[in-house]
């Protein structure tokens, strides 16, 4: 087969997206939905078909030259390799399921064509990021996913808050994109190319300071997309979008793009030890921050959003610790169980009668179909990291990698990680208890949950439970398949004594148990929410929004006001108006000379004569002076 066919993987969703956007409303609904789902599904199948291309050094495919100027030559090119392949598979697979789910979820929605169009477009953009061979194409996908998330968060645009949330997401991520863009420019200036392969190859002979700078820029770019500190404020608000969107974009795929970027450029990033430490620090802090926030949230989706943030933090820690394999492992498992959780949450919300607030739920165990409880529980235990679930293995691998890192400062990060693990278990079980335990507290009449919404959850549940098999540690007789598959792309291999591994596993288990115990003790039967200052503080995400408003937004608008009103209207236009009125006044003044009386013009004659005579006198005097 011709490797150019690889382009089918991203282009199929694109075509379906365009089809839906242009003529979707004129098509019957069923057809639109079929187009949307089939596009993604086909991409999934194609990925499987093309799997062999990924082996070895991977395969490059070039479509045509995008930009050419002087020695600059940037082409639309794909690179399908061992890092991209599993990611592609995950994205297309999860996306397919979520599309199916969405068909059911968006049943009552009139504007379905726009929804599925954007959803497909998003898949295209995400695949572009994954498969991009050079940074500019990656940047294209990077902005593309931002755009789609903007459009989908604000999908219900009539409520201005949704639109605002979308705008906020777009702007905050764009701030990150600026740094990515600068890094891109710099890399081109340094290496004369934007191809990822070339850059990674040339990274070795760059000055350490430059490497640090580049790493930080890339990190900031990644933080924007992956909602890490300090650019994390948008993710929680992004939950304003429809639940499938949250599941696909803000849990499974887009938010992990940052991690993927760092993994892609790992050869460059890993060269700067300081940079790696910073990455780990950012990850660890974000993980802790988000976990604490998740503890106090009242809306089910916000809890999940913060947990996503926290989990992505873990992935950053993995990258920082040098274990790409660990990062990718957690990325995949997290994609499974978090998508599962979101979709289940969607069902829960339906059941609770479009009720988002945890404190008005409860008792769903008896009300709803019992399968829903089990599905949600599966997701929860994976998230909490109950032993033998996928989440357990992936998180454990990360903690191990951080623990075994030679640099002592990593021990501190490890400690944070452990604490976060505890909190994770805590807020996860809090969630479960608040939703299912006790008596129903809400008034909303339960909506029936359609079949289309239910059955896509099962395969995900299976993946979530068994996903651990992807990279089972040797300790439990696993072959670390993912790690071997990635090979040299997988970062450093974690070599640790079995005893340490065992101790860590024990610790993790203990943490989960502790978390469950606390949750059980506190949330078994519902207690009305406390208004404690700490709770409020956590509820509002450590007041991050207010901080941003004080530090950035207000100065920005103030400057804008100064520029438009102060400078333009006041200074520049004022000067012009001054000149104009000066001319007018001069005219009025000179006009008074013409009194219309003859005597005036006669004396003007005399003055003229006087001037001339005086002038001549001066002339002659000077002449006399000369000679």
């Amino acid at each position: 087969m011709n490797e150019t066919l690889l382009f089918l993987i991203p282009l199929l969703p694109l075509c379906c997206a365009l089809l839906n956007m242009l003529v979707g409303m004129r098509l019957p609904r069923l057809f639109a939905e079929t187009v949307a789902v089939s596009g993604v599904a086909t991409a999934f199948v194609l990925t499987l078909l093309f799997w062999d291309y990924a082996s070895g050094a991977g395969t490059r495919a070039t479509l045509f030259t995008w930009l050419a100027s002087g020695d600059l030559e940037i082409a639309f090119a794909l690179h399908f390799d061992r890092l991209a392949a599993p990611m592609t598979l995950m994205v297309t697979g999860v996306a397919t399921l979520i599309h199916l789910y969405a068909v059911g979820y968006m049943h009552g929605e009139q504007d379905y064509a726009r929804f599925f169009g954007l959803l497909n477009l998003f898949v295209f953009a995400m695949l572009t990021i994954i498969l991009a061979d050079n940074l500019l194409v990656l940047f294209l996908g990077w902005e593309g996913v931002g755009l789609c998330s903007y459009g989908l968060i604000g999908f219900w645009y009539r409520k201005l808050d949704n639109a605002r949330a979308g705008t906020k997401a777009f702007l905050v991520t764009r701030v990150g994109d600026v740094f990515l863009g600068i890094a891109l420019l710099w890399l081109f200036a340094l290496t004369g190319s934007l191809s990822i392969g070339v850059i990674n190859a040339a990274a070795a002979d760059l000055a350490p300071a430059v490497l640090l700078g580049l790493t930080l820029l890339l990190l900031l770019g990644a933080c924007g997309k992956s909602a890490q500190l300090p650019l994390m404020t948008w993710l929680a608000d992004a939950m304003a979008g429809p639940t499938p969107v949250s599941a696909l974009i803000h849990a499974a795929t887009m938010v992990t793009a940052g991690v993927y970027l760092l993994c892609r450029l790992f050869p460059l990033v890993s060269l700067s030890a300081a940079g790696m430490a910073v990455i780990t620090a950012v990850g660890a802090l974000t993980a802790l921050y988000a976990a604490t926030c998740a503890l106090a949230q009242r809306e089910i989706k916000r809890v999940l959003a913060y947990s996503t943030m926290s989990q992505v933090g873990f992935m950053f820690m993995a990258v920082g610790a040098g274990s790409v394999a660990g990062a990718m492992f957690h990325l995949l498992t997290h994609a499974f169980f978090k998508a599962l959780l979101f979709m289940a949450a969607g069902c829960v919300i339906h059941l609770a009668g479009e009720e988002n607030d945890l404190f008005r739920m409860g008792g769903l165990y008896r009300r709803g179909p019992v399968e829903l409880f089990w599905i949600f529980l599966i997701g929860a235990v994976c998230l909490a990291g109950v032993p033998l679930t996928s989440g357990f293995f992936s998180k454990d691998a990360i903690l191990l990698a951080v623990f075994t890192h030679p640099d002592p400062v990593y021990r501190l990060f490890w400690g944070i990680g452990v604490l976060t693990a505890l909190l994770t278990a805590l807020y996860t079980f809090r969630l479960v208890y608040l939703i299912f335990a006790g008596e129903p507290r809400g008034q909303g009449a339960p909506h029936p949950v359609s079949l289309a919404m239910r059955w896509p959850l099962w395969p995900l549940a299976g993946l979530a439970l068994l996903g651990g098999g992807l990279n089972l540690p040797a300790l439990v007789g696993g072959g670390e398949r993912l790690h071997h598959w990635l090979g040299d792309l997988g970062g450093r291999t974690i070599a640790a004594a079995h005893s340490t591994e065992l101790r860590l596993i024990a610790l993790a288990t203990a943490l989960v148990l502790a978390g469950w115990a606390i949750a059980h003790w506190r949330y078994r039967r519902f207690a009305p929410p406390t208004e404690a200052a700490l709770v409020q503080f956590l509820l509002h995400g450590w007041q991050a929004d207010r901080l941003v408003d004080r530090l950035l937004v207000r100065p920005f608008t103030a400057t804008a006001h100064f520029c438009s009103t102060g400078c333009d209207r006041g200074l520049f236009d004022g000067t012009l108006a001054g000149l104009a009125s000066l001319a007018q006044r001069t005219g009025a003044l000179l006009r008074r000379l013409a009194t219309g009386r003859v005597s005036t013009s006669l004396s003007a004659f005399a003055w003229g004569l006087l001037v001339i005579a005086g002038w001549l006198l001066l002339q002659l005097a000077s002449r006399g002076g000369h000679g």
Binding site: M21, M25, F64, T65, W66, L67, A68, S69, G70, L72, F76, L136, F139, L140, W142, E143, G144, L147, Y150, G154, Y157, R158, L160, A163, R164, T167, F170, L171, R174, V175, D177, V178, G181, I182, L185, W186, F188, A189, F556, T557, T559, A560, H561, F562, C563, S564, T565, C567, D568, L571, F572, D573, L576
Partner: protein
Amino acid sequence: MTLTTALPSFPWLSLLIFLPLAGALLCLLHHRQATECRWLALGTTLATFTVTVWLFCIHGEGAAGWLRYEEATWVGAYGIRYSLALDGIALLMVLLTALLQVVGVLLAWSVQRQTGLFLALLLTMESGLLGIFLAHDLVLFYLFWEIALIPMFFLIGVWGHERRRQAALKFFLYTLAGSLCMLVAIIALYLIHGEQTGHYSFLLSDLLQTRLTTAQEFWLFAGFLAAFAIKSPIVPLHTWLPDALTEAPAVGSVDLTGLLIKTGIYGLLRFAFPLFPVATATFLPILGVLALIGLFHAAWSAFRQDDIKRLLAYSSISHLGLVLLGLAAWTLTAWQGSLLLMVTHGITTGALFALVSMIRQRTGSRDLRQLGGLWSQAPCLSAFFLLFALASLGLPGLANFAGEILVLLGTFATHPFWAAFGMLGVVFAAAYMLRLVQGVLWGEPGPATAGAAAIADLDAREWLILVPLALITLWLGLYPAPLLRPLEQPVLALLGGLP
């Protein structure tokens, strides 16, 4: 190719300039019958566009030196010659002009009052603009420079909105002040050259041979700069543009933002830079800083505007800041990016202005606080609006991004920090553009939107205007190579001029 060899001496460039003039005269003669005038104007602009496209087809590869050259004596007494020259850069601008004028005529279809005169002025301006881009004799250039001015003055003043008179007067006098300085500089240069060589001529190619002292260079350069900086407009000489753009009728805004302000930049790189290399070399850093100031100042100001047209006007200034930044960087990539950005900005912003006029026709308002929720009433219109807004905020894959990234890549090579700041400007663009989109499309229908009984979606004419522009936006976003190719040689030639 065969056709060119068949007609080697046919004056295509003169045809380009005089075709619209002829159309204008015919429109004047038939100014009573509006419909005839419309079709006449459309035919003329289409014919002109065809000629330009044909020129582009045969000269698309680009070449060193002039692609076409036509010359005749005009005023023997002063050695003024009627001389037109076409190179890759001019080709691009001519193409843009012809295209936008076709759009303009389609837009002007809805003009009811004195349609004939309106179209006549439009066509006159087209030939003026084409002349600016083609003129190779400085007096001829000045002539076209002013000729393009007066129709715009009337377009704003007669068919404009509320404060049209003040805006028209401000626009005209402000620009004229600069032009007069340029006139002095032109004559002075001519005299200096004549005294040196004894051969009095206004031809650019002759004047390029002039040997100037540094002081002379600076003064003359200042003269040229005055005209071009006001036209471009470079902050702080920009305040005429928001007023003019806001008050102008739709077509006026399109031409003003799409073409007229581009003439300033074109003048800079065609005349000011090559004629005065030393002064240019000293001035470039200042230009870069001014460009950045303009970029941010305008973006900030745009963020505060509630009148859509004002907002777009400031966004134009901001974009031109980026263009100037590219020029100041003085590298091939940056220049190609700047020129590309000029074209793409003309198309996207032009389309946006067209859309604003459509919105205003439907809702009777241009005020962000009055509008809103348009998507629910006119999804197609809104979709186009969103598309061009995204293009204008530099979304990859759409037209502007190609130019912007080239500018930034080219600039980073020589001035990393300029480029970094330029990149930062991208967020600013997003800030005001998203505010615009949010105010127009999202939310509950605003007073104006709700007030208008039923807001019709696009009609056939508007589809005809928007679809080609949208296609071009996509095409230039994904495959700008055809436009970049003819630029390479002339840009390299211009860049070589610096000591």
